[in-house]
Symmetry: D2
Subunit: 264 residues, 4 copies
C-alpha cells in the first residue's frame, strides 16, 4: 500500500500545506517486469477524504487492510483546529479547501475522485462535524459521508458570549472558526442551514452514515442531529453502540461503514 | 548534514505540528567504527531558529554550507500565516510556541539551545517581523536576532477598519493575528512596546541585525523601525543594499549575517 | 508521542540513510508555559532499536500505547534486505551500522541509549534474526533482545550451492548477505558462533526473549536455536503459541515482551 | 511547486522504497475557487528521472525555477550505491527498477511519462553512469538522457581482482554491482555493449547530453566514452569546461541542458 506525503501551495489557504495519501496500487504483480511499454489493467478506484479531530493532523486511522480490500485511495489533509469551516479571515476557508481545491488538485494530479460517485468523506469528532458540513456545502462533489462521534456543537456555540467559551477553547477561538456566534444558526456554518438549502433547491443529498458511542460526551448532540435529519426526511444511517470518544470506537466504525460505503 | 522532521503535540498550539531541523553532526569520522562504548569529542553547537514568511512553511533557505562551517543547528517551525504573534484565540499563541515551548522542547530532546548565548533567531518578511518581535518578547531566551525585509506593518494594521484590510489580507485576518487593530500600538503585538518594556525593566536586549533591499516595498517600514531603535538608543546593525523582496536577497544576507552572528 | 524522521550520512553504509524514531516526550504538561529558562523534571528513558523483516523498511509496528506506558523511545532503521549482517562489500556492514554507528549517533544526538542497561533490540522475521545476531555481535551494547518468528536460516544457507537459493531469493543474494555459504557456519554471520565466543570470553550475555507461532513456517528453525541456547546453558525466555508468520503475532508478542523487558 | 514523497512496494527490489517527486502543478490560479466540478486547462508535462551519485539518496538538485519555467515533473529515486545496474542478487535489479517499474508506476499513478517523447533521464557521477546505461538498456522508454561528470569506470572495474578494488570501494562491492569483473566488458553492465546492441538492432537511440569538468578526476573516462560514441557515429552533445566534481558543476550543467532538452 503506497503512502504519500504531498506539500503544495493552496490558493484557498494562502500558503503551503501538506496532505497525505494512501493508494493501494502497488500490489505484487505476477510476471513483473511487464513487457516494455505494456499496460497493466486496473480497476477504477474510489477515494475517501479523511478529516481529523481537534488536536490532530494528517494521519491515517483507517484499518490498514480496508483500502486494498475495497479498492479505494485515502486523502488526508491537515485542518489545524479549524472545524473545517470557511471562516471570515483571509486564508481560513477550510471547507472550500477540502470541498473544492483539494478535490480538484487530487483529480488533476492523480486522476482520482473524478466524479461524485467515487468521492466520499469520513471524519471523527471535529472531523465528523466537518464530514457532514463539508458534504452539505459541496453536495455535488461528495456522494457519501460518514461522521463518527461528531462534534455537532453549533447550538452550543450559538449561545457563547464574549469572554466565554467552553472547557475546550475560548470565545475568540469559536468566533474565528464559526464567525459571530450570535449569527451561527442562520449562517452556512450550521449544517442544518445547508441541509435545508439542499432540500429547498431540490439538490442531491449525499448518503449519510452517522455513529456515536452511548458513553460519548457528544451523544446528545448526535441524537439531536439524527432527529433533525428525520424531521427533514433526509435518509441516513444512524448507529449507536457502547463506546466512548476514542480511537477504538472510530476504528470499529470505520471497519463497519467502509463496507457499507464501498462494497457493492 | 543531518535533516530531521519532527511531529509532536504542542501544548501551546493545542495540536500536533511538524518542525524541521538541520544538524551538522554527521561528518565523516576518521577511524570509524569507533571503539565500542567509546566517546566522540564534540564541540558545543549553537542553534538558529528560522521563521518563514507569509505563504510559507517549514523549509530551510540558509545556504547549505553555513551550518557546517559555523557549527550550528537550525530549527524550522511552521507558523501558518500567524505573524508569529500570540493571538487571543485558544491555540493561536505562536510567539509563546516559538519563544517558550519549542526552545524548551529542543533543549530537552536534543540538548541544544541550552542558554541565551547559543540561541538565535532569524526570519524574512513576516518571519523578519517575527524574528524581532519574538526576540523582544523573550529577551532572556534569544541572544541575537536577524530580521530580513521585515514586514513591520504594525502601524498600517493600527489604521485598519472593519471591512477593510490591505491587498494581502482582510481586516478579520489582521484582527485574528494582532488583536483589535485600534489597540495594536499599545499592545504587546507591537515590537516597539516590547522594546520599551525591556528598557524600562533594565532587561537584556538581544543583539539585532536588520537588512532590507532598497527596492523592497517594505523599505520604509524598515527605515522607520531603524529610526525607532536609534531614538531608543538600542544598539543594532542595519544594512540596506540594492534588492527586492525575494530569495536572492534573503540568501545574500543569511550568508552575510551568519558569520557576524556565529563567528568569533 | 513525537514521531521523527532523520536523514543522515552513515559512515558505515557509505551513504545517506533515513531512520525513524518515536519519543514519548510531548505529553501534555500542567501549567504550560513553564517559567522561562525553567526546567522540566524528566524520568530517564530507555531505548528500543526495532528491526524490520524482509521486504520491509523503517516503520513502527509496536502498539502505540506502549512507549508512553513504559517510557521508552524507539529507533527504527531501514536495513533493505541485508539480513542485518556485515557483508564483505564496502558499505554493506549493517550489523556495525546498527550496533555501533546508529547507537552512537542516537546517543550523541538525543542523549538516549547511553548505557547497556537502557539499550534494547527487537525484530521480527529477518529482523528477529538480526535482533539476536546484532545483540550477540555487540553484547556490551545491548542489554536485552527480543526475537519474534526469527528467520534463523543460517543452516539452510550453509547448504546453498551456486545457481541455487530458495523460494525467497537466489544464491547470489544469500552470498551477498552471509558471505560464502560454505563458510557460514564458522563465520560471524552465524549467531551460534557469536554465542560461543561470548561464553568463551566470559563476556556479558544479553537477556534473550524468543517467540514463534506454532503454524509459522520458521517454527523448526526457532526450536532448533532454542535447543542450542539450552545446550549452551544460555538463560533465555522462549515462547510458542498458536499463530502464523504475520503482524497479528508480532503485535501480540511486542505487547507481551515489552512489559517483561521494560517493566520493573 | 509541489513536493512529494512516495513510499511503495517495489516488485523489482523486493521491498518498500521511497522516491520523491517535484510537480509544478500548484501555481496560483486566477479566479479560484473554480466553478464546482469545472475543469482547469493544463498543458501536458514532461518528466525527468533524476539519478543521484555514490553516497547520495533521493534529493532534488535541479535549480528550483527550472521545472516551472520548462513545465516538467521530476522523479527522484533512491538507488543506494548500486551503480543503477541490474546485479545478479535477487532484488538488486536497479536498472529494471528505474527503466521499467518506476516509469510504469509513475505513469499509472500520475498519468506522467506516458511516452518516450516526454520521458527523460539525468544524473551525475554514479548517476551519470546510470543515466547513460539505463537509457541504453531501455531505449524505447527514454527519449533523452543527460550525464554529468559520469563515473564511466567499467574499464577500470574490468581489471579488478579478488582482494582488490579501488580507493572508493572493494572488489566485492564492484562484483555485487557489475557482476564478475572479468566479464564486465562483454556484459550488459557495459554501456558500450548496449549501444552496439541498439545499433545492431537498428533501434532508437536516445538523445545524449554529456558534460564533464576539465579538473574532474573522471575527465579521461568521459573523453573516452565521447570518443567511443564518435567512433560508433552516435550523435551526441559533449561539453567540457573548467570545473571539478562538485555540485556547482552539476547545477551549472542542469541549468544548461534542461533548456536544450525541454525547450522548443
Amino acid at each position: 500500500m503506497a503512502e504519500l506525503s504531498i506539500n503544495f501551495y493552496s490558493n484557498t489557504l494562502h500558503r503551503n500545506t501538506t496532505f497525505k495519501m494512501v493508494i493501494p496500487n502497488d500490489k505484487r504483480l505476477d510476471g513483473f517486469p511487464p513487457v516494455e511499454n505494456g499496460t497493466i489493467e486496473e480497476k477504477p478506484m474510489k477515494t475517501l477524504f479523511l478529516l481529523h479531530g481537534y488536536t490532530g493532523d494528517a494521519g491515517n486511522w483507517v484499518p490498514f487492510w480496508l483500502p486494498e480490500q475495497y479498492n479505494f485511495a485515502i486523502v488526508i489533509p491537515s485542518g489545524e483546529n479549524s472545524f473545517w469551516l470557511d471562516a471570515e479571515a483571509t486564508g481560513h476557508q477550510y471547507a472550500t479547501y477540502i470541498g473544492a481545491e483539494l478535490v480538484d488538485y487530487v483529480r488533476r494530479t492523480f486522476g482520482l475522485a473524478k466524479s461524485r460517485e467515487d468521492t466520499y468523506l469520513m471524519g471523527f469528532s471535529m472531523g465528523g462535524f466537518g464530514a457532514l458540513h463539508t458534504a452539505f456545502q459541496f453536495p455535488e462533489t461528495f456522494g457519501k459521508t460518514a461522521a463518527l462521534s461528531s462534534a455537532l456543537i453549533h447550538h452550543e456555540v450559538a449561545t457563547m458570549q464574549p469572554g466565554g467559551g467552553n472547557n475546550i477553547a475560548n470565545y475568540e477561538y469559536y468566533r474565528g472558526c464559526f464567525g459571530d456566534p450570535s449569527k451561527v444558526l442562520e449562517s452556512d456554518a450550521n449544517p442544518e442551514t445547508l441541509v435545508k438549502k439542499i432540500i429547498a433547491g431540490k439538490g442531491k443529498m449525499p448518503e449519510i452514515f452517522m455513529a456515536c458511542g452511548t458513553e460519548d460526551f457528544l451523544i446528545e448532540n448526535n441524537r439531536e442531529f439524527h432527529r433533525f435529519l428525520e424531521e427533514q426526511k433526509v435518509k441516513h444511517v444512524y448507529m449507536e453502540s457502547k463506546g466512548i470518544h476514542d480511537m477504538n470506537f472510530w476504528q470499529e466504525y470505520a471497519a463497519k461503514f467502509v463496507p457499507m460505503m464501498f462494497g457493492e
